[in-house]
């Protein structure tokens, strides 16, 4: 807090007032619209914005840029939580700096208790190992988006790829859905559609939607008439051009050979043809000195 105060007063003090009035003003403008969300306390927001809405906010000690300290007013205004005031979520904020991640998770649970419980049951919850995503990894912190859109689901899948790099590459590399995921296609399934969300479980777990016993049901969420063979279609195919499945490897190598062979042969003929044509044009030009022209 001492640090923060130093920034506010020492470095950007004169600007504080104007920035505060911008953020505070826009917040109260949003509050005037009919909304079921609690009306913000403009005073609190302005107070926080006084420092945190300044784009060049830095920690004075080392002069290093701390993006986490800066809160974009645009983000807050575009959030579904736009009507909330800072301390509604940052409830753990006391007189000192807080552990941001845990604070956020706790805060979300005060309203979204069910989702938090579901999350804890999954591998990403407290029982899992290694670095794990929390609420804000997918949902964002200051710009919380409506989670019921396909656009949200597709952007959330980019977060999965940050850890599950290989699975993501194999998903993109050759199944019917992978490539279109780049386009955030509305009709295209992505990570969460098959693997679930909040309660994410390893494939071996019998409750996992991609477990052998559940996978056909999962396919049938969209492909209502999916026959039993549907589950054999590989969704995580290959990272590179040549799949590991020996049958698909044969198909790929056959097509690559056909491709290279065809273009090689006709490329060779074309080069010969162009060379021949040049010589013929040159002969014509020399035999008809009056011809002159484009070629």
């Amino acid at each position: 807090m001492r640090r923060l105060r130093r920034i506010a007063i020492g470095m950007v003090g004169p600007l504080t007032l104007s920035a505060a009035s911008v953020w505070g003003g826009s917040l109260s403008a949003a509050a005037q619209e009919p909304s079921q969300t609690p009306s913000p306390d403009p005073m609190t927001a302005s107070e926080c914005a006084g420092c945190h809405a300044l784009p060049d906010i830095v920690v004075a000690d080392d002069g290093e840029y701390r993006p986490d300290i800066y809160v974009r007013p645009d983000d807050v205004m575009a959030s579904v939580h736009a009507g909330f005031s800072c301390i509604d979520c940052h409830s753990m904020l006391k007189a000192t700096m807080h552990d941001r991640r845990d604070a956020a998770r706790e805060s979300c649970a005060t309203c979204h208790e069910q989702q938090q419980q579901a999350y804890e049951e999954g591998y990403h919850g407290t029982s899992g190992e290694g670095p794990r995503p929390t609420c804000i990894t997918c949902h964002g912190s200051h710009r919380v988006q409506d989670a019921n859109t396909r656009d949200f689901v597709h952007r959330a899948s980019e977060q999965c790829a940050r850890c599950h790099e290989q699975m993501n590459a194999r998903f993109m590399g050759g199944n019917a859905f992978g490539m279109e995921t780049h386009l955030a296609g509305e009709d295209v399934a992505t990570c969460a559609d098959c693997h679930g969300y909040h309660t994410v479980l390893p494939t071996e777990n019998p409750s996992s939607p991609v477990n052998e016993s559940n996978i056909l049901t999962t396919c049938r969420q969209c492909h209502t008439n999916a026959p039993a063979n549907f589950v054999d279609v590989q969704m995580h195919l290959t990272e590179g051009p040549i799949p590991e499945d020996p049958r698909l490897r044969v198909v790929t190598i056959y097509m690559l050979t056909l491709l290279i062979g065809t273009f090689g042969f006709f490329g060779y003929l074309t080069v010969l043809g162009i060379r021949h044509e040049w010589r013929r044009q040159a002969e014509r030009a020399s035999s008809r000195p009056d011809a002159g022209g484009v070629l």
């Binding site: 019917a176 698909l248 198909v251 021949h276």
Partner: protein, 299 residues
């Protein structure tokens, strides 16, 4: 428009009124089939390529033309129907001509048929020697071996692309009797065959038709259906010996029409543009894959 009206006539059978002796190379039905095929293939390429190379920089802008990925998928399916329709038109045209007696099955085995013969294999070697100035020009019949390849590639391509496309369009139906891996195989076949077909059409096919120096920028034959006799003499000497002086020769106006210029100009420029974009992306991908191959098949 024609050069013949302003300059001296190159060939004795040409007249100042722009007419010359011609032979009908493509019937109106064949030209209509080609038009449906060309439009269908263009729609398929312009919607399919941005879906396949979805992460390329040009994919999203191109898809916005079709109203996003959903629109592109719909247009792709409509064009697929046009593509299949062109094949149906071709087969139906032959069937009707056979019923009415204008088409005989044995003509398939005639020298001037588009069906490949042993002669074509020999002419490949002859053509290479000719282009190297080591031999005479092969006595090509009505269709050269590369024109026959065009045709065979189209039939082969339609079967591969059409069948695999249908598998991906109706996976529920096909998976009732096909194993699951064939759907993955279908996608591999479909995308490679599409790149092969597009690459072939927009280079080899273009360069051998409209972009030949003699006819640049447009070969009128696919619009009028008529090929000048002097062109047959030069390009298809074998056919010329059979057709010259026969009742198939008639006098007609030749020269580039404005419509032909517009249509072929559109197809050529758009075709080249998308080809360049795809080739850039494919080359970058190939470089990345090369690194991946060096790293081994598995991580």
């Amino acid at each position: 428009m024609s050069a013949a009206t302003t300059e001296t006539l190159e060939h004795p059978e040409e007249r100042q009124d722009g007419t010359t002796l011609v032979v009908r190379r493509w019937s109106w039905w064949a030209r209509a089939t080609h038009a449906v095929l060309a439009a269908g293939v263009f729609g398929l390429v312009l919607t399919g390529m941005p879906m396949h190379y979805a992460d390329a920089f040009w994919a999203k802008p191109l898809l916005t033309i079709w109203g996003g990925e959903r629109g592109a998928a719909a247009v792709h399916k409509v064009c697929a129907i046009a593509f299949i329709a062109s094949a149906v038109m071709h087969v139906a045209g032959m069937a009707i001509a056979w019923v009415t007696g204008r088409f005989k099955i044995r003509s398939l085995f005639h020298e001037d048929s588009i069906v490949p013969r042993w002669t074509d294999v020999k002419q490949i070697g002859q053509q290479i020697r000719y282009l190297k100035d080591q031999g005479p020009r092969p006595e090509f019949a009505r269709f050269t071996f590369w024109e026959k390849f065009d045709y065979i590639a189209e039939v082969w391509g339609l079967l591969i692309i059409g069948l695999t496309g249908l598998v991906m369009w109706f996976p529920d139906r096909f998976l009732e009797f096909l194993p699951g891996w064939l759907v993955n195989a279908a996608r591999i076949f479909h995308s490679y065959e599409a790149i092969l077909a597009m690459g072939f059409l927009f280079t080899v096919h273009y360069f051998n038709t409209h972009l030949r120096p003699e006819v640049f920028p447009v070969d009128e034959v696919i619009f009028s259906g008529n090929i000048p006799l002097h062109e047959i003499q030069e390009r298809y000497p074998g056919w010329y010996t059979r057709v010259a002086g026969s009742s198939q020769v008639f006098r007609a106006k030749t020269g580039t029409s404005r419509t032909a210029l517009l249509i072929s100009g559109f197809y050529l420029s758009v075709g080249f543009l998308i080809l360049m974009l795809v080739m850039t992306t494919a080359a970058l991908e190939a470089i990345r894959y090369f690194g991946w191959l060096l790293g081994g098949f598995t991580e």
